[in-house]
Subunit: 404 residues, 2 copies
């Protein structure tokens, strides 16, 4: 991976003071025009956000790179100033974060699918007919009851949802160089975790576990096998506090976002979900921390559901809740998203994300409203998400001069 | 050379579907204001392009880097998503492409100049008075008739134009570490191809050939010697199809552009030159290919000639021809140039190039006309040319999500 030149520069300039930065993330905030030809941000009545846009600075964030649609992990890492292309997380770790499994540095995590294999042992359905969550839990209980863990190894199986689960191996000296067993197609057998090129001790233990699971599930009609992929260890990254000399806190109601915060060492201090609670808890946390990451999920959820009016409504709720956060008088307040989730696409997208920053030293003007089109003309311009936090630190007086 | 991180990312995310992307390149499209204070794009009556700009997305492309004027090779490689600073082609290969010489992986190509040396053997005129093409051809015939090729080597001499020619060596195990013989000044002798630092077998063979040519041309009054530079082999790059999972086709009437297309493995399916034919052939090709590169030369030609009204007229021709292409309903249509060729400069320039993209998921607005000034406010913003194709792939649903 390429060197993190910008991040290292920011770390070398970072200096502590008591100014407080709040990053309010409305998940999947960016949009494309809906049925009425306007985006959710354009349609929403949001006097507080528009007032902030008018006197602060606006812009557009590119989460990863032009044309690239980010998952939630990379989207947030960018907002935390960690270049998502430098700081890549294995899928297994992201899945474990998503269910808030308390990973340690001794763990290797993988994403599991229950699947169906035919009598010849070939994969017939990679998702085992998308079994319900309860069935997933029943099967994992059956596996746990019968499995003999290889010597020196703790093995965890956790339900994610439907056919999806998480496998975590815990032990000394494990490595994550393990073959993915998912062949990514049907009509062929699962691959061996310890096939040629994957001769390590951990790969052999995984192969043993998979074989045991095959026998344990052999009498199941549907979900009679598992496929594993994305074996990964928790990455060893500089923590948020080390990187920026900030004292951070996370306020987030959904496991995935708490997980990503913890991945960079941001402790979770509160778990609100509604707009009112998110803003109130962020305000509270900002009294004791120089950086608060506050996460609001429902804008993304409405986008994923293709619910344009719902997304408008969630934005209006957030706007209405904002005065509680403003009352705490953060020195620098950022409102943005981790990516766009246009309701016309019902999915994450690559479109740049509107951002606004309120603070003491802005030039102002040119972005009188907080939406996708207005932000294009704003003071911040179009920048990668990873540059946002350093910009906020500059406004908070937390970056020293570079060079004499 | 630095690693192609963005390109590798895009390759890792690329996924095939049947959506069709058409890239229509009006060569040298970008301009500076002419005598009447407006650019050719501003002066042209072009209702179709303006309508596309109004409902699609506009922006400005930087072909290589700020301030850098691209040749046709780098200009097009950027549009194909190959970073021109990573994917550098030797001048010899570009010259061979320019005359559509069918290079193979066993070849080393070089650019030749006929020159004049005085009785002391010093270069007196590096271009031999810019001899006419016929004279060039006569001299090459004379060389070919008399030259004894070194053992195991095939030697090709091909006329480019005036004093310019192409040398191609074909054989097993050739290398391109050969000294340039052009001293780049007069009053000194040509350099030896096998001088210190260039001791390889191929360099010795080139030195032998150059010495033979010196003797063959000794009785010529003007073009009595050759200078060789830019020795290069065909680069081994991932093909366009490998890189993007696209099924590409090129529609181009001029050899250089067919050559650059072939360099990245894009097959040439048609050779139209007029605007009407380019658009009609692009439409036809788009029925069978998920990516069509269509090239229109004359905008550049008018710019090179300093013919501002001519450039306006060529743009109007292209606009009038556009409906034939639109009728084929490409899923994503891009119109742009490989670089700017301002008629006031009579040459390529570094100025960013206007671009428009029409497709399904745009935010729209703010660039109501397709010209250098209006595009500045457009949705795409200012991006490097190499990011254009990935953006089009995103709009065509051809890029998977990055990270979970």
């Amino acid at each position: 991976m390429y060197p993190d030149i910008y991040g290292q520069l920011i770390t070398s300039l970072a200096t502590a003071n008591d100014k407080r930065i709040v990053l309010l993330v409305a998940d999947g905030l960016g949009d494309c025009p809906g049925p009425a030809g306007v985006t959710a941000l354009q349609a929403a009545r949001k006097p507080n956000l528009d007032a902030l846009a008018g006197r602060g600075a606006c812009g557009l964030l590119t989460p990863v790179a032009t044309g690239v649609t980010p998952g939630s992990g990379p989207g947030h890492l960018g907002l935390f100033g960690y270049d998502p292309l430098v700081y890549q997380v294995g899928r297994g770790v992201l899945s474990a974060l998503g269910i808030e499994f308390p990973l340690t540095s001794r763990d290797v995590a993988a994403r599991l699918n229950f699947c169906t294999v035919d009598q010849a042992g070939n994969v017939a359905d990679r998702r085992a007919g998308r079994i319900p969550d309860e069935e997933n839990r029943r099967l994992l209980a059956k596996i746990k009851a019968a499995l003999k863990a290889p010597a020196g190894l703790e093995v965890f199986f956790e339900t994610e949802a439907e056919h999806r689960a998480v496998l975590v191996l815990r032990g000394e000296g494990l490595d994550d160089h393990i073959g993915e067993t998912d062949p990514q197609k049907t009509g062929v057998p699962p691959l061996a975790a310890d096939r040629e090129g994957y001769a390590g001790r951990t790969a052999k233990m995984v192969a043993d576990i998979v074989e045991q699971v095959r026998r344990i599930l052999a009498d199941e009609p549907k979900a009679n096998m598992i496929l594993a992929r994305g074996f990964a260890k928790v990455p060893k990254w500089p923590t948020f506090a080390e990187r920026y000399k900030l004292d951070p806190a996370a306020v987030a109601g959904y496991p995935m976002y708490r997980g990503v915060a913890r991945l960079v060492g941001i402790p979770v201090v509160s778990r609100p979900t509604t707009a009112a609670d998110v803003c109130a808890e962020a305000a509270k946390a900002s009294r004791d921390h120089t950086f608060v990451f506050a996460h609001f999920k429902y804008t993304d959820k409405m986008g994923e559901d293709g619910n344009h009016p719902g997304k408008v409504q969630r934005i209006e709720e957030l706007d209405a809740a904002l005065p509680a956060l403003l009352a705490a008088k953060p020195d620098v307040l950022i409102v943005t998203g981790d990516h766009s989730t246009p309701s016309v696409m019902k999915s994450h997208s690559w479109h740049p994300v509107p951002v606004l920053m309120a603070g003491p030293f802005f030039r102002g003007g040119q972005a009188p409203r907080f939406d996708e089109l207005s932000c294009r003309g704003g003071e911040i311009g179009a920048i990668p998400s990873r540059e946002l936090l350093p910009l906020a630190m500059a406004h908070a007086g937390k970056l020293e001069k570079f060079g004499a």
